[in-house]
Amino acid sequence: MDISTQNTEAPPPGPQPTAVDRKRAARSASRPGDRIFLGLSRGAGILLLVIMAAIAVFLTYRASLAISKDHGNFLTTFEWNTNIDPPVFGVAVLAFGTIVSSIIAMVLAVPVAVAIALFITHYAPRRIGGTVAYVIDLLAAVPSIVYGLWGALILVPHMNGLFGWLNDYLGWTGVFSWNDGPPRSMLTVGILLAIMILPIITNVSREVFRQVPQMHEEAALALGATRWEVIRMSVLPFGRSGVISASMLGLGRALGETMAVATVLSPDFLIHASLLNAGGGTFAQNIASKFSEATQFGRDALIASGLVLFVITLLVNGAARLIIARRAEYSGANA
């Protein structure tokens, strides 16, 4: 039943509204501050959606121009020849390289980042924790080209020892076999990306761990939990969704990282079973290295690969949201 129609049919019982009441009601209905703020926030929300839609439309349109003329299979071809007629190009190698390097980065960075965040919030004396947090913040401020140069000039030459060791002991798996080539490979890229995404994962995890309510930690302590058991029973479960979000932020950066990868990787258009042999490529690296010299059609083809990266990123974020939502009933936010 609608309240407003009810009111028009039968005037409400009780004392009639006075002049002051009516004035107050009129004032609250049209308070200018509220209206301005409502307009601003609603406008910002709509603008965001419009921008996202515009990006999607732009990518899809330009991509369709290129893909319609592709004589290879756009998803499975191991080639990127946009200057020949008919053009043949595909994103298989780029998708593989992007996903593999990001997985390596996540595997290396997430445990270390969570450990650093726990150290800062739950183990270190306050002053040391603050210093470590500050240094990590600084790490986040380093531009990616600087990481790229550091990676190419310092990290790559120092990878030979590790690669040799991996080849000696794990070479039989194929994944860690090495042809003694320059270590400008997926593993090196993954390690560099891990360092680059470490700060964001650490910082967000740290904030989440800091917000664990005292009473949850005391609940564990009062049962006779050691410090590690408190972390396991209270801190990690509470911070779980936050750590997943933090990892997704890091993953987003790893998936889209351009300059650092382009500087370190020695690309080719093959999928290498070994993570140690130079070669492969990623979406962003491929776009950056080919874009300036590409024809109009070549640019459309690169934009088509960008669209695939866009879709992968959306899928990854959706998956993360699903993981968080599935456990919402048990989330720390209920407390």
Partner: protein
């Protein structure tokens, strides 16, 4: 099973601030002792020194002795973790682990102490939930999250979790102050049953509650804000509420201040 607590000359600090000074008292096994007194008089701080939770607060430190039967909780080489396994605690706000089911909440302390077979674990969980008068309300949804229960049920869940590990002493820090009157009554009835098995110490702001549930009552007070809290007197509850030996106690109880 239940043990006697014997405190002598206990002083507790937050950094350089002295929170309570020179407290001595004895708490008999299988009895309920209530701590009353105005806000800030240190009764919660004192309670938290009895299971070494006070030192968890940054800057928290304690001087003096707390004997559990004959063992000094602050003696050399005593691990605070093992103290807390002997002296359980229930907090002001119900704090079940939000990410755990009802069953896992009760089993949490047991799993810390060692490995149990599944059947053993279920038996202890059932017994503890029955002990906390919660079994009938939750037996059909043991796998649902504990945070879905009402406030009063959550507090009884916390009591079940605390008694599952068979502590010698159960400390309760204003366990009913966040609950409605009916839930409060349920907890008070429960305290009456639990004292058959445990030594219970309860901090409360509610003097009627102290009068209802406790055998002995301790009155704490502080001479001025910023001064350390002190134990004014401890006596049989009946005597404290009818004929206390210190004037300040009578003033507080009759509502003349505080």
């Amino acid at each position: 099973m239940a043990k006697r607590i014997d405190v002598s000359g206990l002083t507790a600090y937050y950094g350089s601030h002295k929170a309570i000074e020179d407290i001595s008292m004895t708490v008999e096994p299988r009895s309920v002792t209530a701590f009353i007194g105005p806000s800030g008089c240190g009764k919660s701080t004192f309670l938290r020194t009895l299971n070494r939770m006070h030192e968890v607060t940054p800057g928290g430190r304690v001087e003096g002795k707390v004997l559990l039967d004959d063992e000094d909780l602050y003696g050399n080489g005593i691990d605070p973790v093992s103290v807390r396994r002997e002296v359980g605690m229930v907090f002001q706000r119900p704090n079940p682990f939000p990410t755990m089911s009802i069953f896992d909440n009760v089993a949490a302390g047991l799993r810390l102490n060692g490995s149990y077979r599944k059947s053993e674990l279920s038996d202890i969980v059932e017994k503890s939930l029955k002990g906390a008068n919660l079994w009938n309300e939750v037996k059909d949804r043991l796998n649902k999250p504990g945070s879905g229960l009402s406030g009063g049920q959550q507090q009884r869940l916390c009591i079940a979790r605390a008694i599952a590990v068979e502590p010698k002493v159960l400390l309760m820090d204003e366990p009913c102050s966040a609950l409605d009157p009916i839930s409060t009554l349920a907890i008070e009835d429960l305290i009456g049953e639990l004292k058959e098995r445990f030594t219970i110490v309860i901090v409360t702001h509610n003097m009627q509650q102290a009068a209802r549930v406790s055998d002995r009552t301790a009155f704490f007070n502080l001479s001025a804000v910023g001064q350390p809290g002190r134990l004014i007197e401890i006596d049989d509850t009946e005597r404290i509420f009818s004929n206390p030996s210190v004037q300040a106690t009578e003033d507080y109880i009759s509502g003349r201040f505080g």
